[in-house]
């Protein structure tokens, strides 16, 4: 018997202590993440503290000169101000379009509902660049909008030219981002108990009152989280403002791009990028805090 037992293979020797296992298992993902996201971010941060000279290029020093320039220069104030005005306008329009859209979708009958939901979401499958170029065809100098206005005799063809205007950028960004609002509100609507609306009806409320007083307050978390997504994506959007706004209407993302690739002032571009990132994180975090406090008691 003793001999038999000894022939059984012993427990294989452990190379690592047991407590390390979860760390080791998540290591490949973590390394991948750090290499591809953490490192470039860190390098951008380091770069933003360097100096730049047109004759000598990047000088590896540590100074806050780039940040001082962005903070003090009216030119950059305007760019950041514009970025946030555009983002807020996009959020407001996305709420105005996306919330009723999601509500109507959720009220549709069986085959139509899933069909229209897919229709709403398919734009996400097409590249932003392609969709924005589509907008150029519509609102460009000789675009469909101008031609139509002229053809109907309403206005001059130039009135339909929305290239290099805030309106054009906002319009295209709303088109790109409204599905995110719809998804977010849709998810919130799925959690509603339909008999709550029936209860409000039975108490004498009209359909509009039910929507305003009963449905909207309940899907508020969905609207707010949708706004967050739309705001963050609009504030950091690059392709749409670059194509429709070009050099004339710069936002933070396109300004950073220009500093990198045209002025070759990488450190200044990096500091713009870092400021944009920090500003977005601050806005998103404080908004989230506010939301959580507001809905903890009522909707959990």
């Amino acid at each position: 018997m003793a001999e038999l037992a000894s022939t059984l293979p012993a427990t294989p020797p452990r190379f690592f202590p047991k407590s390390l296992t979860p760390w080791l298992l998540s290591a490949p993902g973590a390394i991948f993440f750090l290499m591809l996201l953490g490192m470039p971010l860190l390098m951008t941060l380091v770069l933003s503290f360097n100096n730049f000279d047109y004759a000598e290029g990047i000088i590896a020093t540590f100074s806050l000169a780039n940040y001082m320039e962005v903070v003090q220069d009216d030119y950059f104030h305007e760019i950041f101000f514009r970025t946030y005005v555009i983002s807020i306008a996009v959020v407001v329009l996305c709420i105005a379009i996306g919330v009723p859209e999601a509500y109507i979708l959720s009220r549709m009958r069986s085959p139509w509902r899933s069909l229209f939901l897919v229709v709403t979401l398919t734009p996400l499958l097409i590249s932003v660049v392609v969709r924005t170029l589509g907008w150029v065809l519509l609102i460009g100098g000789n675009g469909l909008l101008g031609k139509t206005l002229e053809g109907l005799g309403i206005a001059d063809a130039s009135a339909g030219n929305l290239m290099y205007t805030h309106t054009g950028i906002i319009l295209a960004l709303v088109h790109v981002l409204v599905p995110f609002m719809v998804i977010s509100v849709w998810a919130a609507l799925q959690k509603l108990d339909p008999s709550v609306e029936h209860a409000a009806l039975s108490l004498g409320a009209s359909h509009t009152t039910v929507f305003r007083r009963v449905v909207v307050p309940q899907i508020m978390p969905g609207i707010l989280s949708g706004s967050l997504i739309v705001f963050a994506l609009a504030a950091s959007a690059f392709a749409t403002p670059a194509i429709l706004g070009g050099r004339r209407i710069k936002v933070a993302a396109t300004a950073a791009y220009d500093e990198y690739l045209n002025t070759m002032n990488w450190p200044l571009g990096a500091s713009i990028a870092v400021i944009l990132l920090i500003a977005n994180v601050v806005v998103v975090m404080s908004y989230n805090r506010m939301m959580e406090r507001r809905f903890r008691r009522t909707l959990g």
Binding site: A199, L201, S202, A205, V214, Q218
Partner: protein
């Protein structure tokens, strides 16, 4: 003229009929229950009265007015939903006040009425809580207060107690009955729980497969069920088949296992069989010799205030309940006799085929 009257109310969904030819008269101040298994059409009927489902045929009259096609928000009916359907983003007071706001009741009057109704359901202490901060029973009472504050001509209760645990359900039954009698609102309740229907209502409407089977007082529905479905759905029963034998005078001999009963059969019978219903609590266990039927105890369950026996007898399997009088009764495997008093037997009407 009754207060609420349903005439041939029917709802079809394509080829399936959810509710068929529902005709019912409810008096003012009455508490009526629609009782039936799930899918019997009771909820569809309730929703047609509430206005959430459009009837295919038939009419609904309330206080002499035809409300069949009136919009739900113009009917003024108070409804307590199964899920309570409270507004989660409003406090208790705001929930209760909502209906008054919709009616444009002045602030001072509205405050007073909300206060009164919260007093009625004992929720004054919790009026600034949100629904998710309340227990199931408390939510239930908010839902009731919200429906009652508008002083509705009719109160509909959709399975109001089914989400509560057993102990709370009993307390709420008593409270619900008290409140209804205090306020005097005509009430229609939908439930699948027969004990709830029996204990709360003035009249019970038993439904099955989209149709009304029996409308009666709770005591009558239990004691004189019209058919096999009612007798087995309202309370527990033993359904037995007897063989019709010789007729002597107005008494007919009916063979039930090894027993022969002398019964009054009303009307002619087409078959030689008759269905008999005996409630488990009306059967008695005796010793072998004196029972009308002989049997053997198969299972015995102790249920606190009573024992439940399953007895194999010559007439088939019988369920028998005996009150717990502090003694251990017969044991499993014992041979017993089964007896009953003459009034305990109920003959069921023949199913009319066609």
């Amino acid at each position: 003229m009754s207060y609420l009257s349903l005439t041939s109310l029917t709802k079809c969904y394509g080829p399936t009929t959810a509710a068929e030819d529902i005709t019912l008269e409810i008096e003012k101040g009455e508490f009526v229950s629609l009782l039936g298994p799930s899918g019997c059409g009771k909820t569809t009927t309730l929703q047609m009265i509430a206005g959430f489902v459009e009837p295919t045929r038939g009419r609904i009259l309330m206080d002499g007015e035809d409300i069949t096609h009136r919009k739900p928000n113009e009917r003024g009916i108070g409804i307590v939903f199964q899920s309570y359907a409270l507004f989660p983003h409003m406090t208790v007071v705001e929930n209760v006040r909502f209906g008054l706001e919709m009616r444009g009741v002045p602030t001072a009057e509205s405050r007073q009425r909300v206060g009164e109704v919260l007093e009625l359901v004992h929720l004054n202490q919790l009026k600034d809580r949100y629904p998710r901060e309340l227990s199931g029973g408390q939510r239930q009472r908010v839902a009731l207060a919200r429906a009652l504050v508008i002083q509705p001509p009719l109160l509909l209760l959709d399975e109001p107690l089914s989400n509560l645990d057993a102990k709370l359900r009993e307390d709420m039954q008593i409270e619900l009955r008290n409140i209804q009698q205090q306020v005097g609102t005509t009430t229609l309740m939908v439930t699948h729980d027969q004990s709830e229907a029996l204990s709360l209502s003035d009249r019970v409407v038993v439904m099955n497969q989209g149709r009304v089977v029996q409308v009666d007082e709770p005591f009558n529905a239990y004691e004189r069920p019209s058919d096999a479905f009612v007798s087995s759905f309202v309370g527990k029963t033993n359904l037995l088949t007897g063989l019709i034998g010789k007729k002597q005078g107005d008494q007919t001999a009916v063979r039930l296992g090894d027993a022969t009963l002398e019964l009054m059969l009303d009307g002619p019978r087409t078959s030689n069989q008759v269905q008999i219903s005996i409630r488990p609590e009306k059967l008695e266990l005796t010793d072998c010799a004196s029972g009308k039927l002989k049997g053997r105890v198969k299972t015995r369950l102790f249920l606190g205030n009573h024992w439940l026996y399953q007895v194999d007898s010559s007439a088939g399997e019988l369920f028998i309940t005996q009150p717990n009088l502090g003694k251990r009764g017969v044991a499993v495997g014992d041979d017993v006799g089964v007896s009953w008093s003459p009034g305990a037997i109920r003959l069921l009407e023949e199913k009319v085929h066609g």
